[in-house]
């Protein structure tokens, strides 16, 4: 290595100096260490920022609660382990190429054999008058964000100058901090670099719907400062004016090449330190990598992936290995303000003779365009609003896709065949763009490096550790590969049980276990026995015991004995927890039918307790803002008026919606309201793997949206059609027809069987839609079991349901009748009469809303429970 990099000297230990410890600088150090160069050379790093390298790509997640330490890219002990000297807060100020020395601000001077510049970029601030006023910021470093956060505390409005990728991100952050936010973009559309006109307008609509004000085709003319030089307004080039307290400039970045200019290295006309394919500058002892470099293809890359490639190439060169950087793909997939945006390849269709295939739905803000070459090959594309297909399409770029292009842009369900899984991709397809990891590399991580889990593969290949957009594809590849190599993937419910929910159900049912402790101590993983279980298995087992209670001879009341400790928070208080610690109350309104008297009671109760009142999407009324200690008082009044628990808190039957049906509607062919009420009263209180929803429509016009429900009933002139496995929510699915023209009795019998079969075999938190798609044989199998009784189970399933119906009791009435149970509904165990002072409200639109000034940040990291199995 010494020979390659420093031909004129033969020191025992050559010195490598790195200027800039950003994302690319850190990657370069890791690449050096991987090649063993850190053992042979002294490595000195000059870092301008007060902290070691961190993940700038995820910078905005700071506002979602990630701390600067979370964002760190530098593993603890990395520098010490590799003997790297890191000087924090000490930028290089001069380079003397004759003496081969670098001087830092502290006065430190280091002689180098090889010098690597990784100084990144600086945010470009357009030369508008007033740009230096107090209240003007840029958006590049953690320090910038800390300053913005502080200043925003006393601001009401903010303007972001620049509607590109970073501008939108900054605007989202301001919005999240509670500011009225404007985006001012000089170009005629948002994200002009990445998306075309159609994509830009889909994006704009969605961004505006979120409450951000977008001004395109205008520039900032002047920043108006008031007393003490603080920003008060911004004047725009079209003569308009925005009153604002804060301005963020996000109008692009420029390479930080000043050091290089000062020491006479060649730089590009429009900036950037000129490098060759080995990342060498005009002085062969000096390298430049990352955003400060002007690559041999004449481009400065503002993305991290090409920077990482350069880091690898420079490390290769210093280790005497071959490597070259000739250019990179500019594909990106981002989630901006919650909108998926992706562009890849020749997104703007500049290739000669290319054609576009466009799908656009402005109602839902979806825009997709594929650019197809003369030979039918995919050249690139833009996806806005639904970028699900990105993971598949990008690796196909350059080849003729296996499906017709129009099928690739159609939304799922609209004639598009089942999406191609990552299994359809060739081995050399790049799955993780951030770290340039191919499908082949992921597969060999499993087969050759014996990685047995997704986290292990991430660690081994780095795939999925950048922007995260590839994790879904990665997970499916890893699981496929594991199963193909005969490894059994641990399907256990959680760290406490090696069984699935369905297996636990069978164990509980056949051994007639009535407590969680018995089940854990007899069937838990050895290390979990005698323990306390966890937040995944406790409610799951609680629900299994509750749905089997009558059959097991257990008490069905969910707050009795050990059951109380198993319930999720909502079930524990028989109400729904809201963000400020208060609760909402949903009385059951079967079928959505309600008398005026009952409506009046709801109104009076809400008024007397000052509760926020809203009609729900499930045809009933939700009363929000009750404190724990108010729940019994509210319910005493409701129960008195004949209301029951609506189980809005439980994984249980929610509502059976109805349309008005034959009684009133000129088209109706059956009494849909009566049937809805019958069904709701039959299945109320039924605990299940996930919530259950239903609806009954009086004719095929389907006003009750029954096909969006777990079980939906639609009237025919001969009776009822039963549909199952429908879902609204995040992953909507239309229900499938299970049986036709049933009479009342047949209908109910089939639903009984269907529900009990689902409860018995579904996974935790698996709606009927997902369950139907997952189980072997799908709908046909379910039909065989519940209609044709192929497993001989039907008598048992019906008996289970009969038990449930027979033993149903209203949970709230029971609670109110028992002083011991009631005593739990207090804010404080030692001050039963004291209201919780942290639960506060402020007025809004003539009602109340939570006073969240007490609470933390705007968007919060939600912990997903996927990773909890061992």
């Amino acid at each position: 290595m010494a020979a390659a990099a420093t031909p004129n000297t033969t020191p025992a230990r050559p010195t490598i100096v790195l200027v800039g410890h950003g994302m690319v600088g850190q990657r370069f150090l890791e690449e050096l260490a991987d090649r063993g160069v850190t053992e042979r050379a002294r490595v000195v790093v000059l870092c301008e920022e007060p902290r070691p390298a961190y993940d700038r790509v995820q910078l905005t997640s700071y506002f979602a609660g990630r701390t600067p330490e979370d964002l760190s890219l530098t593993e603890a002990g990395f520098m010490e382990r590799h003997g790297i000297e890191l000087h924090l807060g000490d930028p290089a100020t001069a380079i003397d190429r004759d003496t081969r020395t670098v001087t830092a601000r502290s006065g430190l001077t280091v002689r180098y054999d090889s010098l690597v510049l990784a100084t990144g970029s600086y945010p470009f601030v357009p030369p508008v008058p007033g740009k230096d006023s107090t209240g003007c910021f840029v958006y590049r470093t953690i320090e910038d964000l800390l300053d913005i956060e502080e200043y925003a505390k006393n601001s009401g409005t903010g303007v972001v100058v620049g509607g590109g990728l970073l501008g939108l991100e900054a605007a989202g952050a301001l919005k999240g901090l509670g500011l009225t936010t404007h985006i001012v973009e000089f170009n005629p559309r948002l994200m002009a670099l990445q998306v075309d006109e159609g994509g830009g307008s889909a994006l704009r609509r969605t961004v505006e719907e979120m409450g951000l004000e977008v001004h395109t085709g205008v520039g900032g003319k002047e920043i108006v400062a008031g007393d003490g030089g603080t920003v008060t307004a911004m004047e725009l080039s079209d003569g308009s004016r925005i009153d604002t307290d804060l301005v963020i400039f996000s109008a692009g970045v420029r390479p930080r090449d000043q050091l290089a200019r000062d020491c006479g290295l060649t730089v590009g006309e429009r900036g950037g330190i000129t490098i060759d394919e080995q990342c060498r500058t005009s002085d062969p002892a000096v390298y430049a990598i990352g955003e400060c470099a002007l690559a041999s293809d004449g481009r400065v890359y503002g993305l991290v992936a090409p920077g990482y490639d350069m880091a690898r190439v420079a490390a290769d060169a210093l280790a005497g290995q071959d490597g070259s950087f000739t250019g990179a793909d500019l594909s990106t997939k981002l989630k901006l303000l919650g909108v998926d945006v992706a562009s890849f390849g020749d997104a703007h269709g500049t290739t000669e003779g290319c054609l576009d295939v466009v799908y656009s739905d402005s109602r839902s803000g979806v825009y997709k365009k594929l650019v197809i070459g003369a030979e039918g090959e995919l050249l690139g594309g833009v996806l806005v609003g639904d970028a699900e297909a990105y993971g598949m399409l990008r690796p196909l770029t350059g080849s003729v896709p296996p499906l017709a292009p129009e099928q690739l842009v159609l939304p799922a369900g609209a004639g598009a065949p089942a999406a191609l899984g990552p299994s359809a991709l060739p081995d050399d397809a790049v799955i993780c763009n951030c770290h340039n990891v191919t499908k082949g590399a992921i597969r060999s991580a499993v087969t050759e490096h014996s990685c047995g889990t997704v986290p292990e593969v991430k660690k081994c290949t780095k795939a999925g550790t950048g922007c995260g957009s590839c994790v879904k594809a990665l997970t499916s590849l890893v699981n496929d590969e594991l199963e193909a190599s005969g490894v059994s993937v641990d399907k256990g419910l959680c760290g406490c049980f090696p069984h699935t929910r369905a297996e636990l159900y069978e164990i509980v049912r056949t051994l007639r276990l009535t407590t969680f402790a018995e089940l854990l101590d007899s069937h838990g993983r050895p290390e979990a026995r005698d323990g306390d279980g966890c937040e995944v298995c406790k409610p799951t087992v609680g629900s299994i015991i509750a749905s089997l209670a009558p059959t097991l001879g257990a008490d069905g009341y969910v707050l009795d004995g050990e059951q109380a400790a198993l319930q999720d928070t909502n079930d524990h208080f028989l109400a729904n927890l809201q963000k400020n610690g208060s609760y909402s109350i949903v009385p059951r309104i079967p079928g959505g039918e309600i008398t005026p008297e009952k409506l009046i009671v709801i109104g009076e109760v809400a008024r007397d307790f000052g509760l926020y009142t809203k009609i729900t999407g499930g045809q009933r009324i939700d009363l929000f803002g009750a404190r724990v200690d108010q729940l019994p008082q509210v319910w005493a009044r409701l129960v008195d008026a004949g209301f029951e628990s609506g189980h809005a808190y439980g994984k249980a039957l929610r509502t059976v919606k109805s349309c008005v049906g034959q009684t009133w509607c000129r088209y109706g062919v059956q009494d849909s309201v009566r049937m809805a009420i019958d069904l709701e009263l039959r299945y109320r209180g039924l605990r299940s793997p996930h919530k259950l929803k239903s609806a009954v429509s009086g004719c095929a016009r389907e006003c009750a949206e029954a096909r969006g429900k777990d079980f939906g009933v639609i009237a025919t002139s001969n009776g009822w059609n039963l549909y199952v496995g429908g879902n609204g929510g995040a992953d909507p699915r239309h229900a499938d027809l299970l049986a036709q023209d049933l009479d009342d009795e047949e209908l109910i019998r089939l639903i009984d069987r269907f529900l009990m079969f689902y409860i018995r075999t579904a996974d935790r938190l698996e709606r009927t839609s997902a369950w139907l798609e997952r189980i072997d044989g799908g709908l046909d199998h379910v039909r065989d079991v519940v209609v044709h009784d192929s497993l001989g189970l039907c008598d048992e399933l019906e008996a289970l349901m009969a038990d449930h119906v027979h033993h149903y009791r209203d949970e709230w009435a029971e609670t109110l009748n028992d002083p011991e149970r009631l005593s739990r509904f207090v804010s404080f165990v030692n001050a039963p009469d004291a209201p919780d002072p942290s639960v506060r409200f402020v007025p809004e639109r003539d009602q109340v809303k939570p006073d969240l000034t007490l609470l933390a940040g705007p968007t919060l990291p939600v912990r997903t429970l996927e990773g909890t199995s061992v």
């Binding site: 966890c534 109380a564 928070t569 927890l577 963000k579 404080f828 030692n830 942290s838 639960v839 990291p861």
Partner: protein, 135 residues
């Protein structure tokens, strides 16, 4: 260092509240003004929490696990700012007792207050003891 003190005589197979003597046992938290009695032992359901108010107005989440050990941590969920940790589900992971916040599900070690899902976050842990039991 563990801040959850187990009263020597209280460990073992006893279920809180199961026998007459327990009725008089009180749970105490070490607060700003020293030991402070908050409730009777029988007020606590194993595996479940309650909130208690300290003399200085601080809210504490108090728990007792299956083995009868008592724990107390601050009631405020640092991720959301809401005072709700006492209402989370408890469990144990690698022998560390925890409560999962009922809002966004992050878990906190009951003995140390450390967040298991984000070591940079923690809540205050209080010393607890159970007084007035035989022995």
């Amino acid at each position: 260092m563990t801040t959850a003190l187990t009263p020597d005589a209280a460990v073992g197979s006893r279920t809180p509240g199961a026998d007459a003597q327990d009725a008089t046992a009180t749970v105490e938290i070490f607060g700003p003004q020293g030991w402070f009695a908050v409730c009777a032992r029988e007020d606590l359901i194993p595996g479940r929490g309650v909130a208690a108010l300290l003399p200085d107005g601080e809210q504490v989440a108090l728990f007792v696990d299956r083995a009868g050990r008592a724990y107390a941590i601050a009631n405020r969920d640092p991720f959301t700012g809401a005072y709700v940790l006492s209402r989370g589900l408890t469990g144990s992971s690698a022998n560390r007792p925890f409560v999962a916040s009922p809002l966004l599900k992050q878990r906190f070690d009951l003995a140390t207050g450390e967040c298991l899902d984000d070591p940079s976050v923690s809540v205050r842990a209080y010393q607890v003891r159970v007084r007035g039991e035989e022995g």
